[in-house]
């Protein structure tokens, strides 16, 4: 670690610059959100913004980020680096670049990274960057979640670093080529414009900073900014007990017939540094759950940010942590292994497994930081307009918040993924051919704990047009885990054509299943794990949950050892004491 020598006045300037860069990222985010066209951007907020830096052709560094979907921004670092290396001496003012390939710092094909280099002096380049999930990037399957994929070409169009704006002018044939490879060219064009526009907004501010503080001060501040985060993380790690801590988690299946695929992690803390070694993790798998390194490392850091939520995220945060990924494993595949579902599975399992290892170090800090969002993509041609549409409805998969020391799980996803927004149901009813019937917590589905997880959501909708439906589900058997003695989450499953003769329960996947007018689609999205022994939960809190119809009388007794007198709406304290002393049946939440 190189100590940047700044006097106290300069330190304060550097701190001011750090705050300003964070503000720049917020401006980028606001621009994208307000201007993009695809619901996945505007309603779900599936994009992230950052400011990067390269001095004297050195390694690209992340300086600041905002509203980041965790899997985006760590991996973007590789994308930006590769873009920067691809065009070493050929970047002009007003250029904008795009790179998407999963094996070039990407995660999966639909995550696009837009980069605008802002060179403020020779060899001093800032890069404003947006990575967002576009709704369709061609390939065999609308929406790109191809449960049958066996190579990466079956997952969508791949884009190496290309210049999409040259000195302020759109590069026409590159745009047309890109837009020829999406089923939704009008939306994607709008989304691209939004991302490019955001990067331009960011550029203005970077140039203002350079004018105001001078390039030299800016350079020195950059070093300070990353050192600052590094210092803080090192200080935190130094307080953790040295040693090695292991855990193995399992992915339900790989969409190619392999079940309970292991993710093995060994976390070694020594002094101010941490090594996260994935030795023992499954080799590359045939199905689309291989996780390119950018994705894997992102998931590791997602767990770490949840452990240290108040340290600013930048490249300095990455320095004290080494992630060891062995070649040709599921967490470090070679092209052309398919990777389409990596952000969800094994992403969820990676985060949970790393967390479980840290549970042995700092139990009071851990909890569910994963998103086990289980996807469905529906698509069809509107009977009314003749237009083709593709949808992803995150309302069906809204849950994964878990309990943590001091608080029950609440809201939708765990905090680290809450940059993703849930769609407004009323708006979706206008945009897509269905009507919601149910979107509500289900009784006795919260993972028990001294602080319980959020309950599962039950979701049901009725279709008003025909469509096809592809589902890629995980977390039906290996549900989100509990911590410090808390129970596991209820898990996820789907039912298509509910109530019809050919009703089908989907715990793994289905492909392009036809759904007719009037058909029902049901989903359970399970919450995160509980924290702490449920038999230590305050009886009053259990009674509150009972009054709120979160737990039943039986559930209170079984999961929490709390005996409730339904007639008097009270806890029977004596019976509760006996029940708890007896240990009860301690089963996890019903699925």
């Amino acid at each position: 670690m190189t100590e940047t020598r700044l006097d106290q006045g300069e330190l304060i300037t550097a701190e001011i610059i750090r705050n300003s860069l964070e503000t720049v990222c917020k401006e980028l985010s606001a621009t994208v959100e307000n201007t993009a066209l695809s619901p996945i951007f505007t309603l779900n907020h599936d994009y992230s913004c950052g400011v990067f830096y390269s001095g004297d052709g050195g390694q690209v560094q992340l300086l600041a980020r905002d509203q980041a979907v965790p899997v985006h921004i760590f991996a973007s670092l590789d994308s930006v680096q590769i873009m920067f290396e691809t065009f070493p001496d050929d970047i002009r003012e007003g250029d904008v670049f795009l790179v998407t390939d999963p094996y070039m710092g990407g995660t999966h094909c639909p995550d696009w990274t837009i980069i605008r280099p802002v060179t403020v002096a020779p060899g001093v380049t800032f890069l404003t960057c947006v990575r967002g999930h576009v709704n369709d990037v061609g390939g065999p399957v609308p929406g790109n979640y191809n449960v049958n994929a066996r190579d990466v070409w079956q997952e969508g169009f791949r884009i190496p670093p290309v210049r999409i704006v040259s000195a302020g002018e759109h590069v026409g044939d590159i745009w047309e080529t890109i837009l020829a490879n999406t089923r939704l060219p009008a939306e994607v064009r709008g989304d691209l414009m939004a991302m490019v526009g955001a990067c331009q907004v960011g550029e203005r501010r970077i140039r203002e900073l350079a004018r105001k503080y001078g390039v030299e001060m800016l350079r020195r501040s950059v070093d300070y900014i990353v050192d600052y985060s590094e210092k803080r993380l090192r200080a935190t790690i130094a307080e953790w007990p040295d040693g090695s801590y292991e855990h193995t988690g399992y992915v339900d299946h790989d969409f190619a017939g392999n079940r309970d695929v292991p993710v093995r992690v060994k976390v070694t803390v020594s002094g101010e540094e941490v090594v996260v070694d994935f030795d023992g993790t499954s080799g590359e798998v045939p199905g689309f759950i291989n996780s390119p390194t950018g994705n894997t490392i992102s998931q590791v850091f997602t767990a770490l940010t949840a452990l240290c939520p108040d340290i600013p995220i930048n490249s300095g945060f990455f320095r004290p942590v080494s992630v060891v990924l062995h070649p040709q494993t599921m967490v470090n595949p070679d092209p052309p292994a398919p990777v389409g579902n990596c952000t969800l599975t094994p992403g969820t399992t990676i985060i949970d497994t790393v967390m479980k290892a840290f549970e042995q170090i700092r139990p009071e800090l851990v909890g569910t930081a994963a998103v086990d969002m289980n996807g469905a993509r529906c698509f069809g041609v509107s009977a009314a307009t003749g237009r083709y549409w593709v949808s992803s409805d995150l309302a069906a998969t809204a849950m994964s918040a878990g309990g943590a020391r001091g608080t029950d799980g609440w809201g939708g996803w765990a905090a680290t993924f809450c940059a993703l927004n849930l769609p407004p149901l009323e708006m979706f009813e206008l945009q897509f051919p269905w009507e919601y019937v149910l979107d509500e917590y289900a009784r006795d589905t919260a993972a028990p704990g001294r602080w319980r997880g959020a309950p599962a959501i039950h979701y049901r909708r009725r279709h008003t047009d025909q469509m096809r439906c592809t589902i890629y589900n995980g977390g039906a058997r290996n549900t989100l885990v509990g911590y410090a003695g808390g129970g596991d989450g209820a898990g996820n499953y789907w039912v298509i054509r509910e109530g019809e003769a050919d009703e089908m329960t989907v715990t793994e996947s289905c492909y392009a299943e036809p759904l007719s007018v009037g058909s029902l689609l049901f989903a359970q999205s399970g919450g995160g794990g509980g924290w702490g022994d449920p038999f230590e939960r305050e009886p009053a809190a259990v009674l509150d949950d009972w009054l709120d119809d979160i737990v039943s009388t039986d559930g209170a007794r079984r999961d929490y050892g709390v005996v409730i007198d339904p007639a008097r709406q009270e806890v029977d304290l004596e019976a509760t004491r006996r029940q708890r002393a007896g240990g009860g049946s301690r089963s996890p939440a019903a699925g």
């Binding site: 390939g139 065999p140 190496p160 290309v162 044939d173 047309e176 020829a180 490879n181």
Partner: protein
């Protein structure tokens, strides 16, 4: 065939042994086709040339080159790649099949594809050279979307070299123009011999091993104008049987050449007859229809229907159809659903070729 064309075709064939039928052609600066090595692609080559020219209105000059594989621009299917290169006084075109451009399955032939993107990546007009220099980004985009990037490179290089013949051919510009006029006149005279009237024919697409597919319907009107229309054909389908307008026009011309004495499917022929492929039908499919088997199966039906109306109008009597003579055999070589072995062998051969380059 012009010697320069012949040499160029041979050159491509040698570099791309998987495609025995490459084509080269030249067009004027606007994309109007002047001469081609083979009559098979007159309409589609012109369609590609004009589209590329339109796409690069400014900033296009000698040393520029762009490729197109988009069925909705002029390719028969995703794996048919045409290079358009700017040469002095016009455009040189070269076309060859490439082994793979991603999609559902190797080689763009994807019976399970739901739409064109399931067959592979579309490149309507992507520039791969500017000012005689390679444009690395264009090449990188193409390579990354192919399972056989090295064979693709080989094909692109071969097309580039072959296109150089265009300068030589365009040197005889006045001869080309008069040949074009002659071809138009000959076509006009040949078609003038047909009996005036309106003739209709219907042919169902023959899918080996499956019930007959949707119907292609041709209507030939011989009067002051001569028009061939497919607009009554069945609508496009989910299976990859859809032919696009350029392909339908090309195989109509080829069939007329077989059935009408004196007619040559050469540049200029289209001045004597207008072909309406029928937008939205299986003969004039539009985005995002799948097309990968049209070049074999649907082409057979289109040619049979054209053969039928020509016979009614007094064209030559023939006893075998193109499908019987050539198409079915070509199809079997490419993919036979009943016998996947052939296809597997072909893929294995291509993969070996791709990897064989390792030794270079």
């Amino acid at each position: 065939m012009r010697p320069a064309f012949a040499a160029a075709v041979a050159q491509i064939r040698e570099a791309c042994p998987w495609d025995p039928d490459p084509v080269v052609a030249v067009a004027d600066g606007e994309g109007r086709l002047l001469s081609a090595s083979d009559g098979r692609g007159v309409a589609s080559l012109e369609s590609v040339a004009r589209f590329v020219r339109r796409s690069f209105a400014a900033d296009w000059g000698p040393g520029s080159a762009a490729v197109s594989n988009d069925p909705f621009v002029g390719a028969a299917d995703i794996c048919e790649m045409t290079l358009v290169s700017a040469v002095p006084d016009g455009l040189a075109l070269a076309r060859v099949r490439v082994p793979d451009l991603g999609g559902f399955d190797f080689g763009g032939v994807a019976p399970g594809a739901l739409d064109v993107w399931g067959e592979g990546a579309r490149f309507p007009a992507l520039r791969i050279a500017i000012d005689a220099g390679q444009r690395a980004e264009g090449r990188a985009l193409l390579r990354l979307n192919s399972r056989t990037p090295r064979l693709l490179d080989r094909a692109l290089d071969a097309l580039g070299e072959a296109a150089a013949c265009g300068a030589e051919v365009l040197g005889e510009r006045s001869a080309l123009e008069s040949e074009r006029l002659e071809a138009a006149a000959a076509a006009s005279a040949a078609l003038g011999a047909l009996r005036p009237g309106t003739y209709a024919a219907e042919v169902e697409i023959d899918v080996p091993g499956q019930p007959p597919g949707p119907a292609v319907r041709a209507a030939l009107t011989v009067g002051e104008e001569i028009e061939l229309s497919f607009s009554e054909s069945d609508p496009a389908v989910e299976r990859p049987l859809n032919s696009t307008a350029p392909l339908t026009t090309d195989c109509s011309l080829a069939e007329i050449e077989s059935g009408v004495a004196g007619f040559r499917a050469a540049p200029g022929a289209l001045e004597a007859i207008s072909v309406d492929a029928g937008a939205g039908t299986i003969a004039g499919a539009e985005l995002p229809a799948t097309t990968s088997l049209a070049r074999f199966l649907t082409e057979g039906a289109i040619r049979a229907a054209v053969q039928d109306v020509l016979r009614q109008a007094g064209g030559a009597e023939r006893t075998t159809t193109w499908w019987e003579a050539e198409g079915s055999q070509a199809f079997a070589q490419l993919i036979d659903p009943a016998d996947l072995r052939l296809r597997a062998e072909r893929v294995a051969w291509l993969v070996e070729l791709e990897q064989g380059d390792d030794d270079d």
